[in-house]
């Protein structure tokens, strides 16, 4: 641990405790005493930490038809699949177009057009084609991740240092060896840098897919929409908290992988 990080953590926990306590307290005092439903801050809209905790325990239990952990698992699963398929296809497409001027020129307008289309507008169409299950969510996450990785890899493949290619050639490399030892590693450096935003966007794609996907798709997005239907702020808050936790854990995990893969870069060197 770095020096002084204990102090930083104390502050963070302190702020969290104060916010939660204020939330709990302020949603408990009524504006006019004994008149039901009139609060300074109405827990109907934002719930209360104690109520959220109770609902969390309840939703995790087997008393509900679709327990919380299964919804969370469904979200995580679709996110990771969309992410993995997205980076693989995005990398291959980026490399291909990055190294061939002709293909790049042919495809350029299609790519720009498709990428400028708000991806959320595709949700109903994707759901129509791929059904209400897991697949639609994965496709949606893929459609976002693909372009992030694609554009990064494309840039990377374009900006390969020509002198490195010449050096490899002087050392006796053939064209395939140059691809493997110079172009792919150079492009990968850019691809890796796009992993952290990709995982966040994959999660966005999945949740949006779950909004419309209904019960068979499951997931935390479904819980949010269901809570909207029953005007249940506590359940919605449970879903948001779990989503936030998933987002943080995945981002940190990817960050670890990124640091490992890019450990040769000056900015990742240990001091």
């Amino acid at each position: 641990m770095k020096k002084g990080s204990a102090g930083v953590w104390a502050w963070r926990i302190g702020i969290l405790v104060v916010v939660l306590a204020a939330w709990e307290y302020l949603t408990g005092i009524k504006a006019i005493s004994k008149t039901p439903g009139l609060y300074w801050i109405d827990p109907f809209f934002i719930s209360r930490p104690s109520a959220i905790a109770r609902r969390f325990v309840f939703l995790m239990s087997d008393q509900v038809r679709l327990p919380l952990w299964r919804m969370a698992l469904s979200t995580v699963q679709s996110t990771l699949w969309g992410f993995l398929v997205g980076i693989t296809t995005g990398f291959i497409a980026g490399l291909l177009l990055g190294r061939s001027d002709r293909i790049a020129r042919v495809f350029d307008p299609f790519i720009v057009a498709f990428n400028s289309l708000p991806r959320i507008a595709l949700v109903p169409l994707i759901t129509m084609i791929f059904g209400f299950g897991l697949l639609a969510k994965i496709v949606l996450a893929w459609s976002i991740v693909f372009f992030i990785v694609f554009f990064n890899t494309f840039q990377g493949a374009r900006s390969v240092d020509q002198d490195l290619i010449s050096s490899a050639r002087f050392l006796g490399a053939g064209e395939r060896q140059i691809l493997r030892t110079v172009i792919v590693p150079s492009a990968l450096a850019w691809t890796f840098a796009s992993l952290t935003p990709s995982i966040s966007f994959a999660l966005i794609g999945v949740v949006v897919g779950e909004f419309i996907g209904g019960e068979s798709g499951g997931g935390l997005g479904y819980l949010i929409i269901q809570s909207l239907g029953t005007l249940n702020a506590a359940d919605m808050m449970v879903a948001l908290v779990v989503l936030g936790a998933i987002g943080i854990v995945m981002a940190l995990g990817i960050r670890q992988i990124e640091v490992r893969l890019l450990r040769w870069r000056p900015e990742y060197q240990k001091r």
Partner: protein
């Protein structure tokens, strides 16, 4: 004199900068013999690096030709040529060891032999303890040592060096001069060494090709008579060194003055 390895014949290069044609090299001819260390010096922009680039197939000549071992230089570099760039071309994602191994990997040398030869190269370059280090953690001098050993480990018969020590401080440069001379003393590769540093050229070379300012022509070819082996530090105080430096500087100085006027 031994056989001619590199023959430069009436070589010219004109670059197109938009609508303008800029002549960089104009009608240059000289020979580099087997096992000879030739330096090319001249004011900046005189096309000396362009000549080297043409020898290494990095740039195509506008007119004239270069023969390496009697074969005209084409689109791909001749296999017997090694090249050291001024710019840092060490692969940043590979460790020191794996950078030096590159050329052997490309040639399909067995893992075992790669290990042996790389260890030897690491030892020669004084890079022990840095085998697993990534280039980002090394100094400029160390990185250039890696680049040099990476070229030498595949035993090129002809070594083209484009201001390889140009970006280094004087002290590091002198160390690398000594190391290069020691390495060259073992195998006597044919070397063409481009530099703008006259003392570097005299320290290292058998012959010095002095270029005029742009468009580059040959001003004179000077035979360095200093005995070998040379001590890069002691050399600088010897009377012969100073005499040779004075003679070449006189010729080079004319070029620099014309540029100023």
């Amino acid at each position: 004199m031994s056989r001619v390895r590199i023959a430069v014949r009436d070589l010219s290069k004109t670059f197109n900068q938009g609508p303008r044609e800029v002549p960089a090299v104009s009608g240059v001819s000289f020979d580099v013999h087997d096992r000879e260390f030739v330096a090319v010096v001249g004011p900046s922009g005189c096309g000396k690096s362009t000549i080297l680039n043409m020898m290494g197939s990095l740039v195509a000549p506008s007119a004239g030709e270069i023969l390496v071992d009697g074969v005209r230089v084409g689109a791909r570099p001749a296999p017997q040529i090694g090249y050291v760039f001024q710019k840092d071309t060490v692969f940043p994602w590979r460790t020191v060891e794996r950078n030096i191994a590159l050329g052997l990997e490309y040639r399909g040398v067995s893992r075992r032999e790669i290990g042996t030869r790389v260890r030897e190269a690491v030892r020669l370059a004084g890079l022990e303890g840095f085998e697993e280090a990534f280039p980002a953690t090394l100094s400029g001098g160390m990185r250039q040592r890696v680049a040099l050993m990476r070229s030498l480990v595949v035993n090129p018969e002809v070594l083209l060096m484009d201001e390889p020590f140009g970006a280094l401080d004087t002290h590091t440069k002198l160390n690398l001069h000594a190391e290069l001379l020691a390495l060259w003393g073992e195998r006597h590769q044919t070397v063409v060494f481009v530099t703008h540093d006259l003392s570097e050229a005299i320290t290292l070379a058998d012959r010095i090709v002095v270029m005029t300012r742009r468009p580059g022509r040959i001003k004179l070819v000077y035979d360095v008579k200093l005995p070998r082996p040379r001590d890069v530090i002691a050399l600088r105080e010897s009377a012969e060194y100073l005499k040779e430096y004075g003679e070449i500087w006189h010729a080079l100085g004319e070029e620099l003055q014309e540029r100023a006027s």
